[in-house]
């Protein structure tokens, strides 16, 4: 049996939060020299966020490509206005960079025109769905975050040749999208009067239960897990069929996280030791329940669930 490390790559997911233009430029400047192979760029949560315009994204994309990264442009997950379809269409016809389709509108625009990556917010739950999308140009899929390693194993039995599988390996899990902006709601204003208040929460806004358990993160129209999903353990041991491990950016420590994952990949660091070092980088703690077919918020050791 081959080990996972023989082929696996690291990717950096799109920034899910609203950061200032300066912070975004600085962040990606640093990523140019970080040991990730693939970088996904673009606004996937709220089209009102305009720290970067299309030109800024392309500029950063070109720089990262020049630094040796595979660059993918990610589309919005929830489309509502006609203007948002226009934004997605502009990405899909950019001509230089491949696209991660995050809803079926983007798939419809790309199908038969260019190869694409199916993002985690496309509902690909079974091999027949995957095969259908492969027939339209899908070359890589990101497994929906609520699915387990057992499900991935089931996919692998029927995986079309050459199709890559990516998993959400580090970060706060995207759990839901809505028409309503919950950050604006916390500020007691509707979305149309939000004044971009989410820019004040570079890692989202914590929602706790009434007994002070940190539970969810409000990130504009998106809801995330408060805990950080961590699959670094799956980088060592038997080959589970994961081609790419995705790291989702946070406002701090992202480069450190990338380096720790990279060290496990190269064998320089033991996975348990990496987890030990990763734990303090996740303010609220770690989870991996989905991977073990448990509640997503659960934290399981290697033998639980399965």
């Amino acid at each position: 049996m081959s080990t996972a490390s023989t082929r696996m790559r690291l990717s950096l997911g799109p920034i899910q939060y609203h950061w200032t233009k300066e912070k975004m430029f600085d962040f990606y400047r640093a990523i140019e020299s970080a040991p990730v192979d693939i970088v996904y760029l673009g606004e996937t949560v709220c089209s009102k966020r305009r720290s970067f315009n299309h030109k800024d994204w392309i500029q950063v994309a070109e720089r990262l490509r020049d630094a040796g990264k595979e660059v993918i442009l990610s589309t919005l997950a929830l489309l509502e206005a006609s203007s948002e379809l226009g934004l997605v269409r502009k990405l899909c016809t950019n001509g230089s960079f491949a696209i991660e389709a995050n809803d079926m509108s983007a798939v419809q625009m790309l199908a038969g025109n260019s190869d694409f990556i199916g993002g985690a917010s496309l509902n690909i739950y079974n091999p027949r769905t995957l095969r259908k999308l492969v027939g339209m140009g899908l070359i890589r899929w990101v497994m929906p975050v609520e699915l387990s390693k057992g499900v991935l194993a089931g996919f692998l039995k029927e995986m079309p040749a050459g199709i890559e599988s990516e998993v959400f390996a580090w970060g706060r899990l995207p759990l839901a999208y809505s028409a309503r902006c919950y950050t604006a709601r916390a500020h007691k204003v509707p979305k149309d009067a939000c004044e971009y208040c989410c820019v004040d929460y570079p890692d989202g806004l914590m929602l706790t239960t009434r007994e002070d358990e940190d539970f969810l993160i409000l990130n504009g129209i998106q809801t995330q897990s408060a805990k950080v999903h961590n699959l670094v353990n799956e980088m060592s041991g038997p080959d589970l069929g994961i081609d790419i491990f995705r790291i989702s950016p946070q406002s701090e420590h992202t480069e450190q996280v990338i380096c720790l994952f990279d060290q496990v990949r190269t064998g320089a660091l033991d996975a348990n030791e990496a987890t030990h070092k990763l734990e303090p980088l996740a303010a609220i703690g770690l989870c991996n329940g989905y991977w073990h077919k448990e509640a997503g918020m659960a934290s399981c050791n290697a033998v639980c669930g399965s």
């Binding site: 929830l78 079926m104 079974n126 769905t129 899990l173 759990l175 028409a179 706790t208 997503g296």
Partner: protein, 331 residues
């Protein structure tokens, strides 16, 4: 404008048919539909009874097979499609691309509708399903304003069905993992949100607590009503303030905008609530039937009857209603 009503059992189906439904939608007794609750839904024999009754009254029957099969259980969804097709139901309501691919290949004559659980919110997404699988109608998520529904209807190759009344999903349907994050089971994978087996009600000295797999969703005084613990309707703390951070317990009610929905060309209005009682189905169907008829007769002067509104409010979550995302201020 067609009125599509829910039926979780035969008495509910009869209530819908008798009170003016143009169509009813039902599901099988398993995880292939998004109301997978104990004691609800239909087996093979009950479906036949249900079809006989509906057909004798000229009412259509749609079958929802609108959850997402996984590699090890795809055959269960195939069987559900076959079963519905063999009963010659009027349409299947599907969400999963693989299931649609199977249905379109095996039963090319069978009419397919796109479930709200497919999460198609733009005309490009709807076109995908129309072109690939010959889908004839799409039910759209409760995330669009009236203006956005209008733009979608105008650019869609197929008719659009919208939710008109019932419990409100606040998150875009088909892509909400809040329930599975807390319990491991959610709408997509299990066909239910906040499954009952994870719900605990407990009393302290003065409070009633509701928990979902241990997570405190709400806490009320003993003289208050505690709602069912769906995460999006719970009370939490954000920035030091406790309240309904996501949404209050409330139901969607579109009576005030019925003329708009008619004007922009919405083809069908759906009532939520297969898990509700026959009395609920009878009441809501009666009101919506009367409202749609009045609206179609004279849309210019349509004003919802106060008695209708009171009836709908009485069966609403939290005894209150909202226009939800149809109204921009809600967003």
């Amino acid at each position: 404008m067609e009125l599509v009503c829910p039926a979780g059992n035969l008495p509910s189906l009869k209530a819908a048919v008798d009170n003016g439904a143009d169509a009813v939608y039902i599901g099988f007794k398993n995880e292939t539909n998004a109301r997978h609750f104990a004691g609800l839904n239909f087996d093979d024999k009950q479906i036949e009874e249900c079809l006989t009754y509906a057909r004798s009254h000229g009412t259509k029957v749609y079958v929802a097979i609108n959850t997402y099969p996984q590699p090890d259980n795809f055959a269960t969804w195939e069987r559900a499609v076959d079963q519905a097709a063999e009963h010659r139901v009027d349409a299947l309501i599907l969400a999963d691309i693989g299931v649609m691919d199977y249905a379109a290949e095996k039963w090319p004559e069978l009419r397919l509708h796109l479930s709200v659980q497919a999460s198609a919110t733009s005309y490009e997404a709807v076109r995908f399903y129309a072109e690939q699988f010959g889908v004839k109608r799409a039910v759209i998520p409760r995330v669009l304003s009236v203006k956005q529904v209008e733009a979608l209807v105008n650019n869609c190759p197929i008719p659009i069905e919208v939710f008109g009344f019932g419990s409100l999903c606040v998150m875009v349907e088909g892509r909400c993992y809040l329930s599975s994050y807390a319990t491991g089971q959610g709408p997509n994978t299990f066909g239910a949100c906040s499954p009952a087996s994870f719900v605990r009600w407990s009393e302290t000295d003065s409070k009633l607590e509701t928990r979902l797999n241990g997570v405190l969703i709400d806490q009320v005084n003993k003289d208050e009503n505690a709602g069912y613990p769906t995460i999006c309707k719970g009370r939490f703390k954000v920035n030091g303030e406790t309240g309904y951070a996501i949404e209050e317990p409330t139901s969607l009610n579109t009576l005030p905008i019925l003329p708009d929905l008619l004007r922009i060309g919405v083809a069908a209005i759906k009532i939520e609530g297969r898990q509700r009682s026959p009395a609920y189905v009878a009441k809501v169907t009666t009101v919506l039937r009367a409202a749609i008829d009045a609206c179609m007769k004279d849309p210019e002067h349509f004003v919802p009857d106060q008695a209708w509104l009171e009836q709908l409010t009485s069966v609403s979550e939290g005894v209150q209603t909202t226009l939800g995302a149809y109204q921009r201020e809600w967003q």
